[in-house]
Symmetry: C2
Subunit: 315 residues, 2 copies
């Protein structure tokens, strides 16, 4: 069963891992957010793509991002040279960025490099950037517009987010690889990533929503999972971000976002949020109430199976 | 006493270190060969400049190049990704290249970045690239033209060198910093580096020989040291290279090269080569016979003092 999964960083990577384990090799394609990509120390860094890739390769670090068993000698060297090293890059991780940066400079497309890297790391799934054009998420705080990683890493998500934009999104194009993935997809999954700054940029790529709609017209079902459980984001600032943007910081708020784009057939919410099921249903979505918190590998697979079941079920 | 020293890699760095120890802080300016610079893994690498800089910072590695106490995790990562890693870069060294590459990409001149890096490493001398324009040394072997590091590192200097060229040299310009160094110089030193591929590219920068000649017209003396002792290069392939180019692979051969450019007032040769002194003198050069092999720090200072004495003496 060919599945396309839209994903951001750590939370999306966990569900992608569950899907990869539940599916046959090669059946999973992950479309990764590139809105939080950045250039630092001359390197092109793709945090969400790499988090997914490392997770699917089984080499992710203990916090879910970066690589396991990392060392930090390059960062120490940069610190010694007086460079700001708030965006911490491990030595092995830097090898990935050097590989990518070199190939991009030689004119390869980001998608081609992503496919090469996944292959080199032995990932059985495809991890595709959402687009080959540069899209950069920026957030407006009381102090003005900030680059995403400035807000996310350097300022540790402390400022309230008053507005979000995806610079370059209007000029972005669907890649042949992403278009083909949707053309052959048998199910579409929206991971429990931040709906605003992880899934939002993916959906902002012109043609993305239409490609999903076209697949759904063929009978392919699209299923999402809430990354907000009991009014709290499992990870990251999605809850506070939704609140400061005037949205409801609950699974219902997430469902409303996706319903507004007519993105999904069904939505999975946690048992903790069972009381919201009726309201989600009233948005025109099927609702599955289940355990959505992926505390270990078996929980990832369990959730992936619930998701896959929902992509098949007709309510 | 303000001294300008032309230098390549390890041998030049050793004499520069001796000069730095023998002079007052700030009196030494080293003009480093950039002909063997290269781009690898998206990084701009300046081997000779860095060897001089690390040596003058007191942090050079045990072989004279790179950094002491290096680790190799980034290289291991690149190897894991299937990259060719014949040009070995340590983790701390990579920090230098990331710093440089990032600044160059933002439009800084190589000279500005070199000055910044030296300052960050606490080097009391100035280390200046010979030019800000790209100059690339290439060598012709039986198999055709090779990039310098391809010949030097990957092929371990095995091929015979039949011809040498410095691509880009015609378009290169003297930097304001190099011009100023010669304007204020009180002595000029040509280090015991490879006369063909270390000193050669420096002298090939348009305006370099004229700047030296202009200083000499002001009474500044220029003194060179042979890097070939007893018919053998102390390091690297200078002897074989001179032979395959049809030159004499001795201190006399080196002296002939420099005499042909009317570069020097005096030439230092090793006691082992005392028998060549008359022939060197007949080229119009003063000759100083001394111990030129820099086996330790005190030998570096001793040779530097001999060099400085020769820049003052009138024969």
């Amino acid at each position: 069963m060919r599945v396309v999964c839209l994903a951001g960083g750590v939370g999306g990577a966990k569900l992608a891992d569950g899907l990869q384990r539940a599916l046959a090799p090669g059946e999973l394609t992950v479309i990764a957010n590139t809105g939080d990509d950045l250039e630092r120390h001359s390197l092109m860094i793709c945090p969400d793509q790499d988090t997914v890739m490392y997770t699917l390769a089984g080499v992710a670090g203990p916090e879910g991002w970066g690589l396991a068993g990392e060392t930090w000698h390059v960062m120490d060297g940069l610190t010694g040279l007086g460079e700001g090293t708030w965006f911490r890059l491990g030595d092995k991780d830097i090898a990935t960025h050097l590989y990518r940066t070199e190939r991009l400079r030689r004119g390869k497309r980001p998608t081609e490099v992503a496919v090469e890297l996944s292959r080199a790391l032995g990932v059985p799934s495809r991890v595709l950037p959402m687009t080959d054009e540069p899209v950069r998420t920026r957030v407006r705080s009381d102090d003005g517009w900030l680059d995403f990683q400035d807000y996310f890493v350097r300022l540790r998500q402390a400022p309230d987010v008053l507005e979000v934009r995806f610079e370059g999104a209007e000029q972005a194009k669907l890649t042949p690889e992403v278009a083909e993935a949707f053309r052959t997809a048998e199910a579409i999954v929206v991971a429990p990533s931040n709906p605003i700054v992880s899934i939002g940029p993916i959906l902002a790529v012109p043609g993305m929503l239409e490609a999903i709609a076209e697949a759904r017209r063929r009978g392919v079902r699209a299923v999402g999972v809430s990354g907000i459980v009991g009014g709290k984001a499992l990870r990251g600032p999605a809850d506070r971000m939704m609140a400061s943007l005037g949205e409801e910081a609950t699974a219902l708020g997430v469902a409303r976002r996706y319903a507004a784009s007519q993105l999904l057939d069904a939505f999975l919410i946690d048992r903790l949020d069972e009381s919201l099921a009726e309201d989600v249903r009233s948005l025109g979505l099927e609702v599955v109430v289940t355990d959505t918190v992926m505390t270990d590998a078996s929980a990832r697979v369990r959730l992936a199976r619930d998701v896959l079941a929902a992509t098949k079920a007709q309510a």
